[in-house]
């Protein structure tokens, strides 16, 4: 019995203690790390967003067994939505719209007010987040729909295709109507504003956020927000896992034909998996856009989709604590390496022999290959065998053999 467990079902007492300890550590972390500058907290901020993505993808790949290689598209949807509705970008869109389709353009002005010509639309975070979740969920269903009858590897390639299609659109939707500003991306995305407090800090305060008289760096403020969102994601996905819907997902993963025979509407249940998974991606995307302050197509390539998949696979497909571990390792480690390894090489060898980017890629590649060869259930698989999808992946092979 491992001393570290988060299994509420089988070892509730230990799990609760572990969770409390971990939470305490996570809350204390930024205060400790701030001593060394902002970069460490910033790394974890981004890692938290990737963990959210990994948890969302875990619903699709881990619970339902659908290998989605285009998942980053939903991240892009959330980010670009935020870019469009919480920045000056809408003004640019409006300009191009008025130029090409004046009637539509003017109608939008009457709808939203004259100032959008100059400033664009700036929705608050309370509107953006649900909007991002909903629109991403819609795209999830849209992209999932054609894949419903496809077998494992074909499903993977088709979803990859969709991811690419979305990226290409994001990169090119600048003519005739400027939705995304093309390869340059969208700048000046609003930071998150909660109850009047901007998480980017007050102007002139060097990005310090003041909460109730107490000041903290902007990255710390975002840290707590993202931590909260991550915890909410873990909570929601865990609840989904241990529910009638979660069982239906696992049933489809294990044996789709038997699942159908038992009355599960596999089409709807699969679409739900895509939608729910996508919605987390969308929310993470919205946060990403606000945090960075800009959105560009480079952040949403196939490499990113594979990176998120690698986190899920490395950690333990289907097992939420494992996925979080995978996310931490693959999101934070490369950045940490960059901060450590490059200076170390210069100190030792006088030059950068191996670039950080190369290390990062190598890490991802090795993670995928070694895990599949040596420990396919992941670094931290579920102690309850029933949560592991290994047999499910074999089912397709049996189908083929019976053909």
């Amino acid at each position: 019995m491992s001393p570290i467990t988060f299994d509420l079902q089988h070892q509730p007492h230990k799990a609760r203690i572990n969770m409390a300890l971990l939470l305490a550590l996570m809350i204390a972390f930024p205060f400790f790390a701030s001593q060394y500058g902002n970069s460490w907290v910033r790394i974890i901020d981004l890692a938290l967003l990737y963990i959210m993505l990994a948890l969302g993808l875990n619903i699709v790949v881990g619970f339902a067994g659908l290998l989605d290689l285009g998942y980053i598209a939903f991240f892009a949807v959330g980010a670009y939505l935020t870019g469009l509705f919480a920045s000056p970008q809408f003004a640019a869109l409006l300009e191009s719209l008025v130029y090409n389709y004046p009637v539509l353009g003017e109608w939008l002005v009457t709808l939203f007010g004259e100032e959008i010509r100059q400033n664009g639309i700036h929705l608050s975070v309370w509107a953006i987040v649900p909007l991002a979740a909903l629109v991403a969920a819609f795209f999830g269903a849209l992209l999932g729909a054609p894949t419903l009858k496809l077998r494992g590897d074909y499903l993977a390639i088709v979803t990859l295709g969709f991811g690419e299609i979305i990226r290409i659109f994001m990169n090119n939707l600048i003519d005739p109507i400027n939705f995304t500003n093309g390869p340059q991306g969208i700048n000046m995305v609003d930071p998150i504003r909660i109850f009047g407090v901007s998480l980017a800090g007050e102007a002139g305060s060097q990005s310090t956020v003041f909460v109730g008289g107490y000041g903290m760096p902007s990255v710390n403020a975002y840290y707590f927000l993202f931590l909260g969102l991550c915890i909410a994601t873990i909570f929601i996905t865990s609840r989904l896992q241990h529910s009638r819907l979660g069982r239906a997902w696992v049933a489809i993963r294990e044996d789709e034909i038997a699942a159908k025979a038992m009355g599960i509407n596999t089409r709807n249940v699969k679409l739900l998996a895509f939608s729910m998974g996508a919605s987390f991606g969308g929310v993470a995307g919205a946060m990403f856009a606000a945090f960075q302050g800009f959105v560009s197509p480079e952040s949403f390539s196939l490499t990113e989709s594979i990176a998120v998949l690698a986190m899920v696979v490395l950690g333990g497909i289907g097992h939420i604590p494992g996925v979080v571990l995978g996310g931490v390792l693959l999101a934070a480690l490369p950045e940490i390496l960059r901060h450590v390894v490059e200076p170390a090489q210069i100190a030792l060898f006088g030059e950068k022999l191996v670039e950080a980017e190369v290390l990062r890629q190598a890490l991802y590649g090795l993670a995928l290959v070694l895990i599949m060869l040596v420990r396919p259930a992941g670094l931290w698989p579920s102690p309850n065998k029933e949560e592991r999808p290994n047999a499910a992946l074999a089912r397709d092979e049996e189908e083929e053999a019976k053909a």
Binding site: Y154, A156, L368, D396, E397
Partner: protein, 311 residues
């Protein structure tokens, strides 16, 4: 905008390269039921090796005729590509032959990344796009109002020769028969005395050789190569293989050429078709749209081989 004939010609050039790579995908899928996700990167390796050979020739044997240089480059790239592909099979895929099918796919993705990382890390290659030596004259040849370069003519010729050689191999030789047998039914083939491991290695080797040819000619045609050059063409070649009927060699050839033409025509006419809404930079989506259409409407592809889905 270019003439129709020009676009068809462009399409055939592009399609020939797709066909060469698609053959690799379809043959491996035929014997192993595996999508070798890393196959596009074998094309990239072929191009990189070709580049290095051409540089070496420039330094040590300057003044050689262009065709000879390319021939040497290709002949040099082929063994390296074969080695890489065979190694991948041996190290990454062989152990996973009986594993759940998604496992080899995930591993293949990892291998693809590692290949790219390797090229990225080599100082003589690196992360930046590299100019590919243009050893043939760039003076175009006119065919019926359309232009074609010598490089492109060579490309078409090499592709045709390679495909013809492959057909001969598959239809007339013992190894070819063995390959077809293993593709049909590996167990029974084994019972008939066919060593399926050897067949599989041969399949990977042949696919790699074809990809190497495509890689070097890609470099010669487009004059630039980079460590990511293989990803998208690889995926599109897979789409072409599905279009033609996965597992079927003739399907891969037809699918490749057809996809090339679709892309060329599509890029040319998409502006007109969509009333100016979409431009030619949307070219890359055609392959995926074709894939989705094929898998939805006629999953067995043009030649009607394997069924790609199961209800």
């Amino acid at each position: 905008m270019e003439t129709f004939v020009q676009q068809i010609l462009n399409g055939l050039v592009l399609g020939s390269m797709y066909a060469l790579v698609a053959l690799g995908y379809t043959m491996v899928y035929g014997v192993l039921n595996l999508i070798n996700f890393a196959h596009g990167d074998v094309l990239m390796i072929g191009a990189m090796v070709g580049l290095s050979i051409l540089h070496a020739l420039e330094s040590y044997f300057p003044g050689l005729p262009g065709y000879l240089q390319l021939a040497i480059a290709i002949l040099g790239a082929i063994p390296v590509a074969i080695l890489v592909n065979v190694l991948i099979e041996r190290v990454a895929y062989r152990r996973l032959r009986n594993a759940p099918r998604l496992a080899p796919l995930i591993t293949a993705i990892g291998v693809s990344i590692l290949l790219q990382t390797f090229v990225m890390a080599m100082p003589f290659w690196g992360r930046n796009p590299l100019p590919f030596p243009q050893v043939l004259s760039s003076e175009p040849i006119m065919i019926g109002g359309a232009m074609i370069s010598q490089t492109q003519v060579l490309l078409l010729a090499l592709a045709a020769i390679a495909m013809f050689a492959l057909v001969l191999l598959v239809e007339r030789t013992k190894m070819g028969r063995a390959m077809r047998a293993v593709a049909e039914n590996p167990r029974v083939a084994g019972l008939m005395g066919v060593d399926s491991n050897r067949v599989i290695v041969a399949t990977f080797a042949i696919g790699a050789a074809l990809a190497a040819v495509a890689g070097v000619m890609w470099g010669a045609n487009y004059a630039t190569i980079s460590f990511t050059m293989g990803v998208l063409p690889g995926l599109k070649a897979f789409c072409a293989a599905v279009l033609g009927g996965i597992g079927n060699i003739y399907g891969a050839m037809i699918g490749g050429l057809l996809l090339g033409i679709i892309e060329a025509l599509g890029a040319g006419y998409i502006g007109d078709l969509t009333g100016g809404l979409l431009g030619s930079h949307y070219q890359d989506i055609f392959a995926f749209v074709v894939l989705i259409l094929v898998l939805t409407v006629r999953p067995s592809g043009i030649m009607g081989e394997r069924v790609a889905d199961r209800a």
